[in-house]
Amino acid sequence: MEFSFTDEQTMIFDTAEAFLGEVAEVASIRKSMETNTGYDPSAWDRLCQEMYWQAILIPEDNDGLGLGAVELVGILERMGKKLYNGPFASSAAVTLALAKWGSGDQKSTYFARLMAGESATIAVIDQARAWSAEGVSAQAVQTDEGLRISGKYRFVQHGHTANLILVAARAPGSSGQDGVGLFLIDADAEGVIRKRVPTMDQTRPLAEVQLESVLVQPEQCLGCVGNSAPALAQLLDIQAILVTAEQLGGAQASLDMTVDYLQERVQFGRTIASFQAVKHKCADMMLKVEASRSIVYYAACVIDEWLSDRYDANQLAEAASMAKAYSSDAFFFVAGCGIQLFGGVGITEEYDIQLYFKRAKATETFLGGGAAHRERVAQMLLAGEC
């Protein structure tokens, strides 16, 4: 047991901070969020070519970097700080899914594509309020040529630009935990229609993805078709933990920029930072940021344990729900306080704190908010599962 970073990790994070400072300054984020892609493809290319971050979780055997979830989460935290808007988190989630459940062939095929700079994402639900197997409505119908998937997916991160989409679909007539499969779809396959949808948080592009009888071959099935509800739950948990890392970074940045502003801004002949009520609010913000940090890095460690089969799905679920519940609320609280402490300028388009606030709102709802995840923890707690 060890709860501090290795020197290597610290070095990776310093590098990340420097690189993101170059390619993801707020001005360029603001510019790219108004483009069709919703992010800057050239920054993404540099990320893949110069940093090779897309290979962090890919084993060395597959020519990846063979690093772990702690490194991944540390980088995501720094992306969150910058509101980085490229398809990194969603690609990483797909990478983790492949690492856990991919066949040898799938790993070599898809890892190669990802390492070459292709991006990936996950598409699960259309109408449901909750992200879960129950919410899967797309259907995978067996035909002579193979399975054909039809259905609509919403809330798909970077779904309009991703090269690879990991989708959930169910056997006709099935419901609940039954009949669910996970499939790796090429975005340019026939029958894939997707469009970006306008979102309140402009830094987090979402898309609608429509599959119209898209053909999939057996080698595109991840794990066992029809039996993948547990895997889907774990996949969503993984994805949630990655979101919490970005939330942590966003919360930290919100706190930092707020304190900086308060130290400068003078009212009543004093810096605002000198008002005790303001100081105490900032102390509460910091408490939440640090507590969020503790649970997010714990969850990162759990991913590592889970990847090597030392922790089970329950432990992953508990970690994910704890981290998502706490970090969602913490980020929203911190960014909300940030706007308040900025005062009038906080609600102007010109200042950045409102972008963090919207990010907090968007990531809170995505994959379930605090109340939903606390209820899930309560169920485990009362069942003696945690």
């Binding site: 309020r129 979102t199 102007t348 606030f357």
Partner: protein, 397 residues
């Protein structure tokens, strides 16, 4: 202390309801329920026309004394008017600053000439007002006014220079009341004047402030040798702070009821959606819906106490909590609306940044706890004025 209305008041209620039913229709149908906070930029022209329609019916400024064109309506009648106005879907009033702020201020502090010059236009719903209080370097420190006014003997006019900020409806208004420093050597609350300034003149420039909502309810207003007549100062030079504070007192009156009616319609919409999309089955959401309902009812009785209380305009305890209370309530409603919508809350109505009513509510209510005195300033005021705790010291600056 009792809840029931007199028979006379119930008769008045019928009268209002009937007029609204007969007039808020036809060409005005589209503006029903529109133009509330965060929706202020909608249907402005139609709402201006509606303001005049109201005036024709004798329904503007009903609380003003009869001599100034009002009805001298009792508190009860004003409550009833607001209730029925809202029930009928009466749109957000574009004339509210003139009616509830400028008017009462002039009636209390203005000269006879000023009353004659400005009250009829307000009363007729033809002249809209905006307010010039906040300044960029002042923020919560309202008395830190840098805008200057000097009397130019040559022109025989006051000349204003400076900048105001967070002025809503600036581009729709005929007039602005402006607090400006008449004594350049003065500081803080001393040496200020309260001016009535025509907006349509070369010396006035309006720049909308793009907000997090993608809209621009608020503006910056620049005064570069803007002028007003010699007698467009309310009270004497140096009285500005007193007049301005009196005006803030009027802000906490009957007008709060109109606001609450809009809040009620927002809450109703949240409840409706929660019932429709299943959010109402979630016990945590239910708690918060109930909390919102209770909170709004309390706001109503806070207002009732405020209105039934002392007539000297002094701030009672219930008045001192009013801003902090409603702004916090409204902000919470915005968040609740999003949680009721769930993931859908993230999806906009359209490109490039078209918010639905609840999204707009959510984002715009973040301003509620800031403008008109931040929650922090409100808590200072409560602690210092209502509880008699020591004042926050000013810095050396």
């Amino acid at each position: 202390m009792k809840l029931s209305f007199s028979a006379e008041d119930e008769q008045f209620r019928n009268e209002v309801a009937e007029w609204m039913a007969n007039n808020l229709c036809g060409e005005f149908e589209p503006i029903r329920f529109r133009g509330g906070p965060g929706d202020e930029h909608s249907f402005v022209e139609e709402r201006k026309a509606w303001e005049q329609k109201l005036a024709e019916g004798g329904w503007t400024a009903i609380g003003w004394p009869k001599e100034f064109g009002g009805r001298g309506a009792s508190i009860e009648q004003q409550v009833i008017f607001n209730e029925e106005y809202a029930r009928a879907g009466g749109p957000g009033r574009v004339g509210h600053i003139g009616e509830t702020l400028t008017g009462p201020t002039l009636i209390a502090f203005g000269s006879e000439a000023q009353k004659a010059k400005y009250l009829p236009g307000i009363r007729a719903g033809k002249e809209l007002w905006c307010q010039g209080y906040s300044e960029p370097s002042a923020g919560s420190d309202l008395a830190n006014v840098k805008t200057k006014a000097h009397f130019d003997d040559a022109q025989g006019k006051w000349v204003l220079n400076g900048q105001k900020v967070w002025t809503s409806l600036a581009h729709e208004s005929e007039f602005c009341f402006v607090i400006a420093r008449t004594d350049p050597a003065s500081k803080g609350q001393k040496g200020l004047g309260f001016f009535l300034v025509k907006m349509d003149q070369p010396g006035v420039t309006i720049r909308p402030i793009p907000q997090l909502t993608g809209t621009s309810e608020f503006n910056e207003v620049f005064f570069d040798d803007a002028v007003c007549d010699a007698d467009d100062i309310v009270g004497e030079p140096g009285d500005g702070w007193k007049v301005a504070m009196g005006l803030l007192g009027f802000e906490r009156g009957v007008s709060t009821l109109g606001q609450q009616m809009l809040f009620q319609s927002e809450l109703d919409e949240v409840v409706r959606i929660a019932k429709r999309n299943g959010a109402a089955d979630d016990p945590a959401i239910r708690q918060r819906l109930a909390d919102a309902h209770i909170g709004l009812r309390i706001m109503r009785y806070n207002s009732m106490r405020m209105m039934s209380g002392g007539e000297d305009g002094s701030l009672q305890k219930e008045a001192m909590i009013y801003k902090l209370y409603w702004s916090s309530w409204h902000r919470n409603l915005g968040k609740l609306a999003m949680d009721v919508l769930g993931p859908e809350a993230e999806l906009l109505e359209g490109e490039p940044y078209e918010l639905n009513r609840l999204q707009s509510l959510f984002l715009f209510t973040r301003a509620d706890t800031i403008y008109g005195g931040t929650n922090q300033i409100q808590r200072n005021l409560i602690a210092e004025r209502a509880l008699g705790m020591p004042r926050e010291p000013r810095g050396a600056n």
